[in-house]
Symmetry: C2
Subunit: 393 residues, 2 copies
């Protein structure tokens, strides 16, 4: 019997299907190329240099980060063009300054006059011209100023007149995750585009510079019909995709590049459950599919080769225990309906004997990846490479 490298991994472990990941990277880069915009991947999904190297090799220009630690780590790994896409606040300016002074072409963002004033004051005090984008709210999702709000000018003039580099505008239509039909996604994408372009136009009409017009989320990036007026596209989770994105409708389970390798450690035969060593510490507590078309519990069960085992999900999870069960069927797909009792699988112990190794597709790749300090990248020939990932702030 041949033992492949994956059989030697201790479980639970995070496995990346390398060819799926490369396919996802190529797909999104091609999309940006076709749309005529630069692509700046959001690397908060992987936090892994080996992943980002492949995104850059495919044509990405710069990266987007969600923490200044990501900026420091990727700058240390040789990436110089970095957009920190969470609102800057005074207490984080010293860390941003340190990056700038080290030679990092760091861009920061703001959506408030108070933060803009703090950036100007700190920049002047340290003779640093921060490059700042103004965050635009195009879908009432989370943060940003609305394209037509007067405060847009106040922020822009404060930055510009205060000697900072007014680099442009950016938006993120996070509400795209809440939709699951092509028409709705196209509409969100157009709203995202129109809103951020409108903000850019207003700034330019007022005589203010606005070279960068940046937008994106994985669903809108894949569904938009055009990006007129936009210069830059951003997306993150596409690199691995996940079950949430499958429900949104922008990928299939065959595209999902991240899974958690696990071992069957027991059974509750009377309840039709197999107990796995992947609980919520491995899968994360993310239940993003709970309110979607198909509720996958804590994940979709696959065999060790990554082939979906239809009808079986991780129905519940404790810290280090996952409970595999048969999911209620809905329109022929493997999903869990909160209202339907799961049918009991009486031969669960024969179907999944103790020691069986499985792979679980996660609801949310960003959350599941964050539970691990390394990925095991699996090539088509079965060879494994261990890639470290970082976490924290």
């Amino acid at each position: 019997m041949n033992t492949s490298p994956i059989d030697m991994l201790e479980t639970p472990a995070a496995v990346i299907d390398l060819s799926r990941m490369l396919h996802n990277i190529a797909r999104m880069q091609q999309r940006a190329d076709d749309l005529g915009v630069a692509f700046r991947p959001h690397v908060k999904t992987s936090k892994c240099t080996e992943v980002v190297t492949r995104q850059t090799a495919a044509g990405a220009r710069g990266i987007t980060v969600s923490t200044l630690k990501e900026a420091r780590e990727f700058f240390a790994a040789g990436v110089t063009d970095i957009l920190y896409a969470v609102g800057m606040v005074a207490s984080k300016l010293p860390a941003a300054l340190a990056l700038k002074q080290s030679g990092c072409a760091l861009q920061i963002i703001t959506d408030s006059l108070a933060a803009a004033e703090a950036i100007v004051a700190f920049g002047k005090a340290h003779a640093e011209r921060f490059e700042v984008l103004i965050e635009i709210d195009t879908d009432s999702h989370r943060s940003g100023v609305k394209p037509d709000e007067p405060v847009l000018f106040d922020i822009a003039r404060t930055l510009h007149d205060g000697g900072m580099v007014l680099a442009g505008v950016l938006t993120h239509a996070g509400s795209s995750y809440d939709h699951d039909t092509p028409d709705a996604l196209v509409a969100v994408a157009e709203k995202e585009r129109a809103g951020v372009v409108r903000a850019a136009q207003r700034l330019r009409e007022a005589g203010l510079p606005c070279p960068v017009v940046s937008l994106g989320s994985t669903p809108t990036a894949l569904m938009t019909r055009g990006l007129e007026g936009v210069t830059e596209l951003r997306a993150g989770v596409y690199v691995f995709f996940d079950l949430v994105m499958t429900n949104v409708g922008v990928c299939t389970t065959d595209d999902l590049a991240l899974s958690v390798l696990t071992t069957v450690i027991g059974h509750q035969v009377d309840k039709g459950l197999a107990v796995l060593d992947a609980g919520w510490m491995a899968m994360s507590r993310d239940r993003g599919t709970a309110k979607q078309k198909i509720d996958y519990g804590y994940g979709q069960v696959c065999d060790v080769d990554g082939t979906v085992v239809p009808g079986y999900i991780l129905g519940a999870a404790n810290q280090e225990h996952g409970l595999l069960c048969r999911a209620a069927s809905k329109e022929g797909t493997a999903g869990l309906e909160a209202t339907d009792p799961s049918p009991v699988e009486t031969d669960i112990a024969e179907r999944f004997p103790i020691g069986t190794r499985l792979r679980i597709l996660p609801n949310h790749a960003c959350a599941t990846g964050a539970q691990f300090a390394q990925y095991h990248a699996l090539a088509d020939d079965g060879q494994l490479s261990t890639w470290s990932r970082f976490s924290g702030w």
Copy 2:
């Protein structure tokens, strides 16, 4: 103006209120002492040597772990008496053997004949007498054999006759988390006690050894009326407590020792939201209070000194953004009702200006702690100590 050490921390950061933690440790140890049993804390909550040192100093005898990495880390830190309380499986036996051969008094558990046979075969092959407890299911929660199942004897005889050390029985009434009245908790605790004692009696009546009778969960440990027949108590989350335990009714928010320090980075004034730099990456995705009496969203808001700010919770979270909002009031307490729209706080920007530092009490201390690589232990005099914690497998 005096600057205290906590003002210098970058956010988000995990803060431990040292005196609360020491109070919690003393309370549980006193409880075990009063009940006349040994206490073996579950260290999966903290994964931190400095925390465990204080549990041991208070009188704990040995520790419980949820991963073999925890066993290795704490053994390296000088703890020798370690119970790995997740069902053993063949693929993990080499790691268990390495610990035993290094001098660790490791106990392992099983609830299946297949695993017992694997332990015996591996133990014999490596001339190692593993100490094994049989896991008993006393509340249909997750795993274990029922006290009256015949397979109990098959497992016990396989281990005993196979030359392993049949160390005893253990159970964990995880269903205690689902209750919130003293009567219900007392009943679960008694069921937990009676079930595991019954299993021990059956083994002894059959002439098999059963020195250890181990049980526990934080709620049952605190609510049980007596532990006749039991030798050992286990509990984990009590060391920090959390909002889930507050809802269960075994602590108050004044007991909660873990919080996440965060900074206000923006507002959505029209929606009455303040945007924080603690999203789900800091808080974890755990929504354990969602189905309890009071739904705290992603956490209860406190001021920087740790005093609860009544009526404000972290109502929603993205990866690095948390949305602070006013919670719908319910019987005078600060909770979010899924059916009630939250009242809009129109002066949110004045109430929580940009740059304001807050602390957020988490739903689930085990999940939130796991998002951080260190804790900042805050003494009553304001001094901070940085304690590292580990994660992974």
